[in-house]
Amino acid sequence: MRHRQTIAVLALVGWFVALYLGLHALGIGGELKCGTGGCDTVQTSRWAVLFGIPVAFYGVAGYTAILAVTLVGLQPAWLSRRGPSLLVAALGTGGALFSGWLTYLELFVIHAICRWCVASAVIIAAIWIVSLLGLRRRGDVGRGDVGPLPHIPTSPRI
């Protein structure tokens, strides 16, 4: 449960970071607060838009999905099931790979670093790691697939 709660918090923070970048991409809010000055360079580069959609909105969608799955996974009926953990781990892996690719572009192609993008990369990496730890956790593995533990009758006291 702790893993899922941690992921929910991280996803919520990541969602706001991605939303801030997304709103800026739509021209809302003026200049980005960015100490390095690289945010606008990154945000105005050709890599800032993918298939006609600002990259930040892929982040908003990704964090929304992770947050939704995690919140469902925290419901009592789903707590002991492995499905949400697997799904979050899959989403986290995809997000971390995508974020890694964007960070590579910043460092080696665009030659500018956007602190907000770095923050998002750190958050998704943390989600990925926590989701893997959640999968490895003994209590989470297998229990949901085999159903509730069998009832073992105890001998009546004499």
Binding site: A8, E31, G35
Partner: protein, 221 residues
């Protein structure tokens, strides 16, 4: 569990408030002065000059105000060049804008210099921008700072503000960029000496320019 959802709610409110603060607290620099215009018009302007019109040598420098090497050149080499070559009437120096797209406020700075130049304070504003080059390192919106620099340069601030808001010289700056691109300028500072690009593996010094100018009368008339 309830405590967790309560904490999540509080966190959502806090992050939402922070988002609103971020979106509201940072007014943008006027877009008209920070972006290239859709159409470029040649107003006949070919750069601000320093030195005698009758000088035999003209050096054109393509400048990016956010470029640290340009700033270093302006602060370290230019005073000697002014003293040895420009003040003596041997060289006329022409400044052309070449704001690089990788720099956030370079075009904005070029526009600030042009707005000061409209009031006859281009060179003073240029010095202000280069001698106080910390603005280029912070990444912060320099609107207020540039206004202060314009004032320090001796410009009328109200006229300067109106000029910046209108983006009056955006087309002029972009024309200079296009001109530079046609001359294969791909970085700053780039120098042309009597129309020929000065190619060097390192940033030329005042001594390099002096040697070059000394050698020119023998080659050119």
């Amino acid at each position: 569990m309830n405590r967790f959802y309560m904490m999540l709610g509080v966190l959502t409110l806090a992050l939402g408030a922070m988002l609103v603060y971020l979106l509201r607290s940072n007014p943008s620099a006027p877009r008209a002065a920070t972006q290239a215009p859709a159409t470029v018009v040649d107003d006949g302007f070919r750069g601000n000059t320093l030195g005698s019109d009758s000088a035999r040598v003209e050096i054109v420098e393509y400048v990016d105000f956010e470029c640290p090497i340009c700033a270093s050149f302006a602060v370290v080499q230019m005073p000697t060049i002014k003293e040895q070559l420009i003040a003596t009437g041997r060289v006329r120096w022409r400044f052309r804008d070449f704001p690089l797209s990788i720099h956030k406020y370079s075009r904005y700075a070029a526009h600030a210099a042009q707005c000061a130049g409209e009031q006859g304070k281009f060179l003073e504003m240029q010095d202000q921008l280069f001698y106080n080059h910390g603005w280029a390192l912070t990444g912060k919106n320099p609107t207020g700072l540039f206004r202060d620099l314009a004032k320090a340069a001796g410009a009328d601030v109200a006229r300067y503000d109106a000029c910046m808001a209108s983006g009056r010289f955006a087309s002029r700056i972009e024309f200079s960029v296009q001109e530079g691109l046609q001359r294969n300028v791909n970085g700053t500072p780039t120098f042309f000496v009597n129309g020929t690009e000065l190619r060097s593996s390192r940033l030329p010094t005042s001594d390099d320019f002096k040697r070059l100018v000394d050698s020119l009368p023998a080659r050119r008339k």
